[in-house]
Point group: C2
Chain length 415, copies 2
């Protein structure tokens, strides 16, 4: 097992060779990696079976076992993921702007890789291949730290990817995995500023908080979503039911699912019984304030904590307001800056909501479930940023780049 | 003195009202602030005299006293700075991209303020007004933490600015100053994630390192510059002398000054005596490797530490290389990712250098001293970023913004 320090050095050397590669060279390597995953599927599955067995022996929750489990189909999906990345435009080298100064200096702003990206993630082993693909396409070296439950699977996937790079003459250090599963290794990784340019945590709220609090490397915070749907007094109520059901129940464990309903008092009487019927049919537990509960006898009282919570479960909180301004204030107080929606036919209410709600993605009359790199047409996604620095919302290839200024002179000096 | 928690809350309330202001409203407030600085100059100067007296009593270095000192002219320059910001285009509200998805969703990417910006800086009190002006124009609330040496001056300036905002009906909490000069207040400020979106340190390497290591708020690292000039074998040597002299001595205490010369072995014999004559005339101490010292008897041996050092002084380190590749490797090992220059008439050497050197700004045949928001034509500068996340190089108004995605639907749900 090599030291973190040495991994950092190797990643730095790799980044200089990756940034020189053409899009065509990178695509060939990605195709080789996709083939290797398919060809070596049995090796990966065998390592994965060991992880599963260890998980079961440790009494791991069945839902977690499912996240951890690889199958031939899932490995094939990982390979397809890499092939899809081949089809995307390479942003590296794009000239974003060119300007000439009065003194004759010509300044180009050119897209470059970030350099070395660190990714800390939880138990899904497919992240290992996905993250590699996106980082590699954008000329970045990646250092991965996966969950200890998936260590054998991640090691097997990394080995296959590294060997495939070797066969096409690309430095295998484009992808490195931290094999030490101690927490101390994670702590040290988060302070590897000398080598790592950016750290991206992918996982639950606890993991993300730990990284934000302990990393000295710049972090892109991703993924926590306490998303609201606000039903305005001018809402199309049929549409509102469909959107809330979709946003709440189409997939419950995801960051862009709706966790909270905000409702204008004037539509409660008509709307709540219809909505509640649908929510009950999906076994969604309702937790509301007094203004909601007078219309719904099976709605239990919501606490302050409910309004701040990302349930990721069949539960929804409900809050009554008397104006769009009050809805905005409630959302800005409790949301995680992820995705927020207003259902209304009133353009003025929509505009106020879209402008004043503080979130990466604000919707009028559409489900919050669309906050996603693929749904946005980016073709890929490394995560959904909930911070404002660098990237906000779905992050595709462009969001894994930086830029540099290239200045062409003829001997200019400053006066 | 109000608590940090309360300052955070006030800044958050202020940010919601600032983001609604039009460019015209913001400009009126900036003009009022500029007038107020001029009208209340005596009050500010009186506070500044107390800071100076305290500094002198504590044996403060005369150079530091000079940085701390305000005069009528310097206050006028602060007011002019605000007036210049009025003339710059307001980036807020710009639609950066619009795209329609196959399902009919129309997505706009719109520029918005970052929200609340924290700035930690050292003794120049003019930063108080400058930082306010840039943050205010971009709709951000700012919380400032200046050096304890300038606390009376900063309080006086902040008071004048806050009162001027009040008179034009703008929330004074657009600018707040942390008056507690304890280190503990700085530590707590760096962990105010609930309210502060970004922290920008402005000052020496020690301050910046302390912020990077201790802040849990996203940081934009600014300002440390160990900048190199590489004289290639195909260099115009007259041009090289002029550029090195300018980059090294035009102003020594700044981050874009040249700290290190890298020289191709084949031009040493002709070039070094000419350059050395000029450097001696400016009293620049030379510290070089053996390959340089055989041509310069007054050049003292350079240590490993010299190559990594931002002198901010009349000292230059010198290193011999035998190729542009070796020059690039040396620079990438020791630089601070700020500004790097190659002097050459060989387009291939220039291209390799510009592509492979890892720095915010890379130059061919021009002084590194041009890395500056004004010189780049941004009209203003909050600092020079040496990190790759968010902004790189000179940061003007646009770099103080984020974006949000505004999604217009007609009832779309995800299938």
């Amino acid at each position: 097992m090599i030291s973190l320090q040495e991994m950092g050095q190797r990643a730095c050397e790799a980044k200089y060779s990756l940034q020189k590669m053409t899009a065509e060279q990178k695509n060939q390597a990605l195709l080789a990696a996709a083939n290797a995953l398919r060809e070596e599927a049995e090796e990966i599955l065998s390592a994965n079976r060991e992880d599963i067995a260890a998980g079961e022996a440790n009494g791991m929750h069945p839902g977690m076992i499912d996240r951890l489990r690889l199958t031939k189909a899932r490995i094939d999906a990982m390979a397809e993921g890499l092939e899809q990345i081949v089809g995307l435009e390479d942003p590296i080298g794009q000239v974003m702007e060119t300007f000439e100064r009065p003194n004759g200096l010509v300044i180009e702003k050119k897209r470059v890789p970030l350099g070395v990206i660190g990714i800390i993630y939880e138990s899904r082993p497919n992240v290992t291949a996905d993250a590699f693909g996106l980082c590699f396409k954008t000329g970045n070296a990646v250092i991965l730290k996966g969950g200890s439950d998936a260590i054998r699977s991640n090691m097997a996937i990394t080995k296959v990817l590294r060997e495939s790079l070797n066969t096409v003459g690309v430095t295998p250090d484009a992808i490195q995995l931290i094999e030490n599963t101690d927490r101390s290794a994670t702590s040290a990784f988060m302070k590897l500023n000398e080598y790592v340019d950016v750290l991206i945590p992918r996982g639950g709220a606890g993991l993300i908080r730990a990284v934000v609090e302990n990393s000295t490397i710049p972090v892109i915070e991703t993924g926590t979503g306490n998303c609201h749907v606000y039903v305005d007094k001018a809402a199309d109520l049929d549409m509102a039911v469909k959107i809330i059901l979709n946003a709440k129940t189409q997939r419950i464990g995801v960051c862009n699912a709706c966790e909270s309903l905000v409702i204008h008092e004037s539509v409660r009487e008509e709307f709540l019984p219809i909505l509640a019927r649908e929510l009950r049919s999906k076994n969604v537990e309702m937790r509301g304030d007094e203004g909601v509960r007078i219309y719904l006898e099976d709605c239990i009282p919501a606490t302050e904590e409910d309004y701040g919570k990302e349930y990721l479960d069949y539960i929804i909180s409900m809050k009554t307001v008397s104006s769009v301004g009050e809805a905005i204030a409630h959302i800005n107080k409790y949301n995680t800056r992820h995705s927020e929606c207003i259902i209304t036919d009133d353009p003025a209410a929509a505009e106020q909501f879209l402008n004043e709600v503080d979130a990466a993605c604000v919707y009028v009359n559409a489900s919050t479930r669309f906050t996603d790199g693929f749904e946005f047409g980016f073709g890929a996604e490394i995560g959904i940023s909930t911070q404002k620095l660098h990237a906000r919302g779905p992050m595709g290839l462009k969001e894994l780049t930086s830029y540099k200024y290239i200045v062409h002179g003829k001997g200019q000096i400053r006066g």
